[in-house]
Amino acid sequence: MGNLFKIALRNLRRYKRRTALTISLIAFGVIFVLVFVSITGSFKQLMITQITDSYLGDLQIHRRGYVASIENLPLNLNLTPAQVSVIEKGLDNIQEVEARSERIKFGALFSTFAETTNIRINGVYPEKEFATCPRMASRIIQGEKGIGALQKGKILVPELLARGFKTKIGDTVVVVATNKDGSVNGKTFVVSGILESATGPGGRDGYIHFEDAVEILRLQGKEVSEIAVRVKSLGRVGEVAQNIRARLDGEGQKQEQSGFEIHTWSQLSPFANIANMIDVMTFFIKLMLIAIVLISILNVMIMAVYERVREIGTIAAIGTSPRKILSLFLVEGFSLGVTGAVVGVLLALGIIAVLNLLKLSFTFGQSAGLILAPTIAPLDVLTASVMVIVVSLLASAQPAYKASRMEPIDALRHV
C-alpha cells in the first residue's frame, strides 16, 4: 500500500502544474461550500433567534383551530382554564422546557384622547415573558428596560404607533376592547416604554400586564390565547414539540373536546421559508462541488492514463496484476481528492476565522447592526471532505478500469 502511494504521489509531482491546478480547483470548491454553509448557517441561526427570542418563543401551544384564525385574535378560541392547568402541569414535567409564558392576545382600540387607532395587545406576566423571549428587554428602545416596564397599569407601545401618534414615555392612553360577549370595556395606561419592531407577524404588538388584560376583557378564570415556550436547545425544538404533544394529546382529549395544537417557530414564522430556501441553495452548491471534483479528476485521470499507456504496458507485461494497476490509478485520484479537500478545509477555516475578526454587520428587516459570526460545524467539514474523496474515487474509477484492461502488447506498441 505504501508503495502504491509512493508511485501515485511521484506521478502527481511529475505533472506539477496540472496537479496544482486540479488541487486548487477542488480546494476552491471546498472553500466555496464551507464558507457558504458557514455564512448562511450563521445568518439563519441569527435570524431564527432574532425571531424566537424577540416575540415568538421557540414553540407555541394553542387551542385547536386558533392558529388558523390567528389574524382575528378570536377570544372564543382561547384555552380554557382547565386546559391551561393541564398544559402547565405537563410542561413542568418536561426537562427540555426552559421557560413558558401565557399570553392573552386581543385586538383593541388605542386612544391618546386626541387620536384613536387599532392595536394588537398581548397580556403577559412580565417575568415569564422576559424569560421566554430574552430579547424583549433590548427591544425597549425608550423607557425602563426591564420587567418593571410591564407592571400593572403600564403599557409598552410599538415603535411605529408611537412615532405616528408622537406618544412619549409617561403619557396616559386608553385601551378599549370588546369582550367575548360583545360588551365594550376600557382602561387607562401609562406608557412605560417604546418597543422596537421585530420582523414577522407579532413583531408590532403592544404589551400590557396579564391581569390588566383579564380586567379589560372581563375574563372568568385563567383563559389564555397562547402559551409560548422556550426550550433549552433550539436545534431540538422538533423533538420537544413531539414530546409535549405526546404528553398533552391524551389528556387534552379526555378533558376537553377540542384539544390543543402545538407549533414550532418554523410553522409560525414566514422566515422558515427563507431558511428552507437557504437549505435548497446549499444543496445546489454542494452539487456544484461534486461536479467540479468529478470533472477535474476525471479529466486529469483520463490524461494520466492516456499519457502513460506504454508504462502501463510495461508493468502489465512484467506481471503486475490488473487489480494492482487499477489500484495504482485509484490511489492517484484519491490522493488528489484528499489533498484538495485538506487544502480547501484549511483555507476555508482560515477565511471563516478572518470573517469573524472582521465582525461584518448587516441589517435584516427592522433589525440593524446584526453582527455576522460565521461558524462551521465539524460535521459539515467532515461531510464536505468525505464527499470530495468519494467523488474523487468514483471519477478515477473509469480511467483506472480502462488502464487495468489494457492488453500489454497493444499498450507497448503505443507511441
Binding site: 508511485i7 506481471g319 496484476s321 490488473p322 502488447i409
Partner: protein, 230 residues
C-alpha cells in the same frame, strides 16, 4: 531440461481486408540455460514469436509449452501471474518507470508483482546492481542515465525475480555498437552466473555473433536453428 516447446505454432493477424500470417507452423524446443537469438529480416515474425513465448499474445493454432505450462490456456490474470513468476522482459527502449530511481525500478517486480519482504528485496536488488555494475548509480532516475546504463538497470529488473527465462526483443537496437556489444556480453555473463535462459531477437550482425543458438525466420517460417560459437 527443455524449457520451451512449440509445435506447429501459428499466429495470424486478421485486419479488415487481409490476413497476415506472422508466424506459420513453427516447431522448436529450447533447452534451459540457452543463449538463443531469433534473426531474420524485418517483418519475418521475430517480435510475434517472442510475444507468444512471453505469454503476451495467444497463438492462433498449434501448441506452446513454457516451463511445463500450456500457456495458450491461461486467462489474462493467470498469464500476468505466470509472467511475473517465470519470465523477465528486456525492451528495446528500456521502458523504465520514470518516477522511480534505478534501485526502485529493479525493486518494482518484487514489490508490485511478488510481494517480497523489504529485507529480502534490498539484498537482491543490491546484488543485481553489483552484478550489472550500477551500484554507484542506484539513486539516479532514468532520465539521468545513459541508454546503456538504462538497459543495465532493465536487465537487473528482468532478473531480480529469478525467472526461468528472459525475453529481449531487439535489446540493443537503441544503443550504439560498442554499448550494444557490452550489453549483450552482460546478458551472457548473467546467463553464465545464474543459468537463466536468454532468448532475444536482433538485426545486428555483430550481436548475432554472440548468440550460442541462432534461429532464422523468414516470412513467419522457421528456416533453421544452428549452434554457433560466440
Amino acid at each position: 531440461m527443455i524449457l520451451v516447446v512449440a509445435q506447429s505454432l501459428s499466429k495470424t493477424y486478421a485486419t479488415d481486408s487481409v490476413e497476415v500470417k506472422a508466424v506459420q507452423g513453427v516447431s522448436f524446443e529450447i533447452t534451459a540455460g540457452s543463449f538463443l537469438s531469433f534473426v531474420g529480416p524485418s517483418g519475418s515474425g521475430k517480435t510475434t514469436l517472442l510475444n507468444l513465448i512471453g505469454c503476451l499474445d495467444k497463438p492462433t493454432s498449434g501448441s506452446l509449452t513454457v516451463a511445463g505450462v500450456d500457456v495458450a490456456r491461461l486467462d489474462r490474470a493467470q498469464a500476468a501471474a505466470f509472467r511475473g513468476e517465470n519470465i523477465g522482459f528486456v525492451f528495446q527502449s528500456f521502458n523504465l518507470m520514470p518516477v522511480l530511481t534505478a534501485f526502485e525500478n529493479i525493486e518494482y517486480p518484487l514489490v508490485m508483482v511478488q510481494n517480497k519482504l523489504p529485507g529480502e528485496r534490498r539484498t537482491r536488488v543490491l546484488e543485481l546492481l553489483q552484478a550489472v555494475g550500477m551500484s554507484d548509480q542506484k539513486n539516479k532516475f532514468p532520465d539521468q542515465l545513459s541508454g546503456g546504463q538504462k538497459q543495465r538497470i532493465a536487465i537487473a529488473r528482468a532478473l531480480v525475480t529469478q525467472p526461468k527465462l528472459v525475453l529481449a526483443d531487439e535489446p540493443t537496437a537503441n544503443l550504439d555498437h560498442e554499448t550494444a556489444y557490452t550489453i549483450i556480453r552482460l546478458m551472457k555473463k548473467m546467463r553464465n552466473d545464474l543459468n537463466t535462459t536468454f532468448i532475444f531477437s536482433t538485426h545486428d550482425t555483430r550481436i548475432i555473433g554472440e548468440a550460442e543458438i541462432i534461429c532464422t525466420l523468414e516470412d513467419g517460417k522457421l528456416v533453421r536453428c544452428e549452434e554457433a560459437h560466440g
